[in-house]
Symmetry: C2
Subunit: 377 residues, 2 copies
């Protein structure tokens, strides 16, 4: 089932090395996997980074051993743990999303059902009807055995967590484990842990969430869920971003309808027009999820998933000309690597090396793990 080796348990030095690598500037989940595949281990990748960066002239900060040890110790003081993909504790549903985090920080949730999950998202300025609807859905789904995933935001998120405290809920944070947002929900975060629920984040300890971290967090809300429910959402809201991410992750999207005269119903109604399932109660969701299997029919090529075995790419070192040729073939519009290979005539090995260098130098970015573009400045 899981695309990574089952039964993995990192040693403490390995966990520190994974943490150093993922916390290093310009290393995201995609680059992390590329480095792991190329060098076989996080330790070897870290050792190789200075060499890789030399030719680019860039000088990203490599997280030090001490910084990583400090973060891990800090997390342990909070009662949190760092879980790597492939470890028993890592939520399996996350393995099937593009750019899944190699490491997540988790607290609590040891006895949660992470396989039967529904995400509930919606407006922060929810109406009383929206809150009531959320409470009813979360209660009924919880009683039916589903774990409720949400983002600990005001409004719909808060109502979803509160109604599922007794049956199990997971709050995904946009910042560090010690930077719960909004402040007013710190007591709710404690309640979640006290009642067997979980907090989860991929961000470093101490990280203050910025605006751009919320969409990134939303991909984990949907990624942890078999399907997500949008309860109240205006047009151009974060909830609609979550819905789009859920579709990209091959997850079900459900929406609660509302009167066209109610602006808070615009997002949900538009989702239904675009193909989301109209639901009016938990039974509608449960019936539809009966056939959900996010590991099947993935939108993304399952071959892309890393196997963390070392495959030495044995090619001549790329030249400066090669770098220029590659850069001229890129723009801020994402393209497939195959297309770049066709356009430049460069070998696969050369392209892989160059893209990794440019990635670490912060000059390119991956979207969904398979498309690459110049980073927009």
């Amino acid at each position: 089932m899981s695309p990574v080796a089952p039964g993995l348990v990192l040693t403490r030095p390995q966990r520190i090395a994974w943490l150093r690598l993922i916390r290093t500037e310009n290393v995201g989940p995609v680059t992390f996997r590329q480095l792991m595949n190329r060098f076989g281990s996080a330790e070897a990748a870290i050792d190789a980074l200075p060499g890789l960066l030399k030719r680019t002239g860039a000088n990203p900060r490599i997280t030090t051993q001490m910084e990583a040890e400090d973060e891990l110790a800090g997390l342990e003081r909070y009662g949190a743990r760092l879980v790597a993909t492939g470890e028993a504790d890592y939520p399996d549903l996350l393995n099937y999303i593009p750019a899944s985090p190699p490491l997540v920080t988790m607290a609590g949730g040891e006895n949660l059902d992470w396989a039967r999950t529904v995400g509930i998202v919606g407006a922060r300025n929810a109406s009383s009807a929206g809150i009531k609807m959320t409470r009813t859905l979360a209660l009924d789904l919880g009683e039916a055995g589903y774990t409720i995933i949400s983002g600990l935001a005001r409004g719909i998120d808060t109502a979803a967590h509160k109604a599922s405290l007794a049956t199990g809920t997971v709050a995904v944070l946009a910042g560090g484990f010690d930077k719960i947002y909004p402040d007013e929900n710190i007591p709710l975060a404690h309640d979640i842990l006290d009642q067997g629920g979980a907090l989860l984040t991929e961000m470093p300890l101490g990280w203050e969430p910025r605006a751009r971290d919320f969409p990134r967090r939303n991909r984990l809300v949907s990624g942890l869920s078999l399907g997500i429910v949008v309860v109240e959402a205006a047009k151009r809201s974060g909830s609609l971003i979550t819905a789009r991410l859920a579709l990209e992750q091959n997850r079900d999207v459900f929406a609660v309808p509302g009167s066209p005269l109610d602006p808070r119903a615009e997002g949900g109604n538009a989702l239904i027009q675009q193909g989301a399932k109209l639901i009016t109660n938990a039974a509608d969701i449960i019936e539809s999820l009966g056939s959900a299997d996010p590991s099947r029919n993935a939108l993304f090529d399952p071959d892309w998933e890393p196997d963390f075995t070392s495959e030495a790419v044995d090619t001549a070192p790329p030249s400066t000309d090669d770098t220029a040729r590659l850069l001229s073939s890129l723009s801020t519009t994402p393209v497939e690597v195959d297309e770049i290979i066709r356009q430049t005539g460069l070998s696969v090995g050369t392209i892989q090396t160059l893209l990794l260098e440019l990635d670490l130098a912060g000059q390119i970015e991956w979207s969904s793990g398979q498309l690459v573009a110049l980073r927009y400045r």
Copy 2:
């Protein structure tokens, strides 16, 4: 386009004969067509009725010449006219529905666009939000050139007609032209006529509408429409019957969504779950109707449509045994005629004759023109 001969204009004696035939007990639209096809004209069918009925022992009332002349004269005093299928004034969209009425009573509407039409239906006890939604939809559709069809009921129907008085609206009545229901909407009916709209019914002058006449009327509301919009509807409401009929007629069904906490939204939300299109404004409807063509992809075999030419069925007269054999093959569950032919081994001609006799005797009923069943008593 039209499945009947274009350019038909009935003479006054023909019109009287059509009226006598369709007003005769047990003669509905399906039987009317069978008689026309068999005898070539309404006059010939009326002359043949006594002979057809003799063997059945039944004695349905045949409408007299004087009764038909009285109704026609009465309608003319009201400024209404009797329009036959195939005549220029007959709304073409009606030709494509099963069991379309051979004759309709119409007043007004001479300059309406009968080809670009939208039906709007919904709850009688509509909410103020539902009324507002209806008004906005009807106004915007009217301004876009669509004629609004509805049933002159309280609530949504009334709001739909009122908002489209200036641009064109058609009220379909469940009773006779002189029995407008509800009484409080008699002034609205006059306003509709005064402003160029139309009233239409298939029921006789003087007919008080009964409960069962409303679903029958609803098939004309949808039949006159390219698509229908359900604005507010409870479960098991007349509006949902109209929606079902519209689907059977291959017409688009649109529904306005609403909060699951609002009982008046249950019907619309359920329709959307079953495949109706969620709409929030007139533009949604207009966009979708761009490709509507009810004459294509009909659910019903177009070959079934009558051509009104005489085809003498030349077979030996059926025996009493044949009648018994046919009756024993029928139940109150509708079956196809082909199935009856297979089961009884009787010839097509014999079956046609027997079914016509039993139909006129009130012992069987047709549903959708192709399925036949014993009449439920």
